[in-house]
């Protein structure tokens, strides 16, 4: 193995090889292959049930693969390995928190259980969202709940930051504030993966797109490269060109690209999507 190869392998933060996950008879992930290099900010998109959450949970170690393999920072995700749990932070889309704790107790929990906890940033997070420290978590609104969960996830100071629908229940101002906090946290991480349906926000936070369909990667690459390929008509899925659709020329943005790919995937029952799996 050459030095260059070593350098290259070390630069891969997440690597999934033929990753499959089955729940009963349903395949949530089906032969997923993807390698994500250090320093990436990845937008994970796809229709409902495409396997986005399962993939994020596989990276976090919360879900075990049925077959195939996945490695995070060179190790198989293991919740019994503090080296893994210290380096991976995951925001669940349901924002689970302990309702019996107060807001400040929730941050105390983060500080108690995480050696690299960022005290100043977590306090700033409360100030930014104007969350009352003495308020019980169970008395927070849905949006405030999401904000507190985000603060808890962002300030663990881990290398891998996984955010599943971080802004789904936030008002426009809270979304802007959340983006600012995520930007700050991103500076200290090696990898950010955000799963969301709000494409405009993903464009602002991320550089790469991973589009999932039927449990595998349909399309992967830099936003700019994918858009250029699409606009030039060279973007193909299993030999079929991704049409430009009816959008007026000049408004061919990421959202239109994603919609067109998803439409193409939906109209074909046998289509095998063969997007690039290396970012």
């Amino acid at each position: 193995m050459t030095g260059d190869q070593n350098l290259h392998n070390e630069s891969i933060i997440v690597s999934a090889q033929a990753l499959c996950k089955r729940y009963g008879k349903q395949w949530a992930l089906n032969d997923l292959n993807l390698s994500i290099p250090r320093g990436s900010s990845v937008a994970l998109v796809g229709s409902n049930g495409a396997g986005k959450t399962t993939f994020l949970k596989c990276i976090a170690g919360l879900v075990h693969a049925t077959s195939g393999s996945i490695s995070v920072l060179g190790r198989t995700p293991d919740l019994d390995e503090p080296k893994h749990t210290a380096q991976v932070s995951y925001l669940d889309q349901r924002h689970p928190l302990y309702g019996f704790l107060r807001v400040n107790d929730t941050l105390k929990l983060g500080a108690e259980l995480n050696p690299n906890w960022n005290v100043s940033e977590s306090e700033r997070g409360l100030e930014v969202f104007q969350l009352q420290p003495r308020k019980k978590v169970k008395d927070l609104s849905g949006g405030q709940h999401a904000q507190l969960a985000l603060v808890l996830a962002l300030n663990k100071s881990s290398q891998v930051l996984l955010l599943d629908e971080p802004m789904a229940s936030l008002d426009p101002l809270a979304r802007t504030l959340s983006r600012q906090l995520i930007d700050t946290a991103r500076a200290h991480t090696s990898l950010l993966i955000v799963s969301s349906h709000i494409v405009s926000e993903l464009e602002e936070m991320c550089d790469y797109l991973v589009l999932m369909a039927r449990g595998r990667v349909a399309l992967a690459g830099r936003f700019t490269q994918l858009l250029d390929s699409w606009r030039s008509g060279s973007l193909r899925l299993e030999g079929s060109p991704v049409e430009l659709g009816s959008s007026p020329r000049g408004t061919f943005g990421l959202e239109e690209l994603i919609n067109n790919v998803l439409l193409l995937e939906r109209t074909s029952t046998t289509l095998h999507l063969d997007g690039r799996t290396r970012l």
């Binding site: 919360l62 075990h64 019994d80 749990t85 995951y90 669940d92 689970p96 302990y98 983060g110 259980l113």
Partner: protein
């Protein structure tokens, strides 16, 4: 982590403490009632396990007057440790699954092993404190009366189960069963219901299957029939008799009444002399199998050890399952 578990169980512990205090007050008032009855009947002069006709008669009157309070006392001690252990055990794991916080806590920098054993230790401590207080208080105030005047021996199952250190053992066992079922079912309500059934079955298996093996038994030959007791057992001088058998010279078992007339009790409480002389004429004697009272504490500690071992196994099984669960 201890802080988190403390916060998670704080309200449950407070409620448990309040209910325990209410229970202790109730037990105390019932024990006063039982003691008053014992005092009025003046049965304190009867030594423990004294089977004289006078004391038997007083015990009968005591039962008639104080059976309700002593019965409640015994049943509380029989039921509460298991109930407490199962409820706390099931909620240990199931609560985090139901609230969806399992993924949150598992992705902090602590292992699942650490998480589980810390929870078991902290909640086990709360449950043990409550069970121990109940045990001590009830034994001091009421159970001793019951044992002395109502039950023929501390080795009878109901008294054995609700006295000594096995109460603590059952509590630990119930905690282990609850933890395992909370892990498997991940639902508190169903977990508690199934856990109680499991606990009852396991306890019955211990009582009927294991306890007779661990209680050292002795055999003596008696030339006369020992007196019967109201508990369908037979008292011997220093223990409780679960089984007796009439053995002739041939070694074959047969019915007493086929050889001698039924052992009619004389008014004094002794066996009819005609019956005993009939037995001696035929060269008959009883082989008496009994459990000596001295084996009480040995059996108690062996059963405690079994309960603790089963609890450790159950928690280890939970740990094994948790390591394979998808969240």
């Amino acid at each position: 982590m201890i802080w988190l578990v403390y916060r998670q169980y704080r309200s449950a512990a407070i409620w448990t403490a309040v209910l325990s205090i209410a229970l202790i007050v109730g037990l105390y008032s019932m024990s006063i009632d039982a003691r008053n009855v014992a005092s009025v009947l003046r049965i304190h002069g009867c030594a423990a396990y004294n089977s004289s006709p006078f004391c038997d008669a007083l015990a009968g009157r005591f039962i008639a007057h104080a059976s309700w309070s002593t019965g409640v006392l015994i049943n509380v001690l029989y039921i509460v440790p298991g109930l407490l252990g199962v409820i706390f055990g099931v909620s240990l794991v199931a609560r985090d699954f139901e609230a969806g916080t399992i993924g949150l806590v598992w992705l902090q920098t602590l292992t699942r092993r650490h998480w589980l054993w810390t929870k078991v230790a902290v909640s086990g401590f709360v449950v043990l404190v409550v069970a121990s207080i109940l045990d001590v208080v009830a034994n001091l105030w009421g159970n001793s009366i019951y044992i002395r005047f109502v039950s023929p021996s501390p080795l009878t199952s109901r008294v054995f189960d609700s006295s000594g250190v096995v109460i603590v053992g059952y509590c630990i066992l119930a905690l282990g069963i609850g933890t395992l079922l909370g892990t498997v079912l991940r639902r508190s309500g169903v977990g508690v219901a199934v856990g109680l059934v499991f606990f009852a079955i396991l306890r019955l298996a211990l009582e009927k299957g294991v306890r007779p093996v661990i209680e050292a038994q002795r055999f003596v030959a008696e030339s006369v029939l020992p007196p019967f007791t109201p508990q369908n057992g037979i008292l011997v001088r220093e223990g409780f008799l679960p089984l007796h058998q009439l053995i002739p010279r041939s070694g074959q078992g047969f019915s007493i009444t086929s050889v001698c007339q039924s052992p009619v009790q004389a008014p004094s409480g002794t066996i009819d002399p005609k019956f005993t002389s009939c037995l001696s004429q035929h060269g008959l004697h009883f082989v008496v199998q009994y459990i000596p009272n001295s084996s009480y504490w040995t059996a108690q500690f062996i059963e405690l050890g079994l309960c603790v071992s089963l609890c450790v196994l159950a928690v280890a099984a939970s740990r094994f399952i948790l390591a394979r669960i998808d969240v």
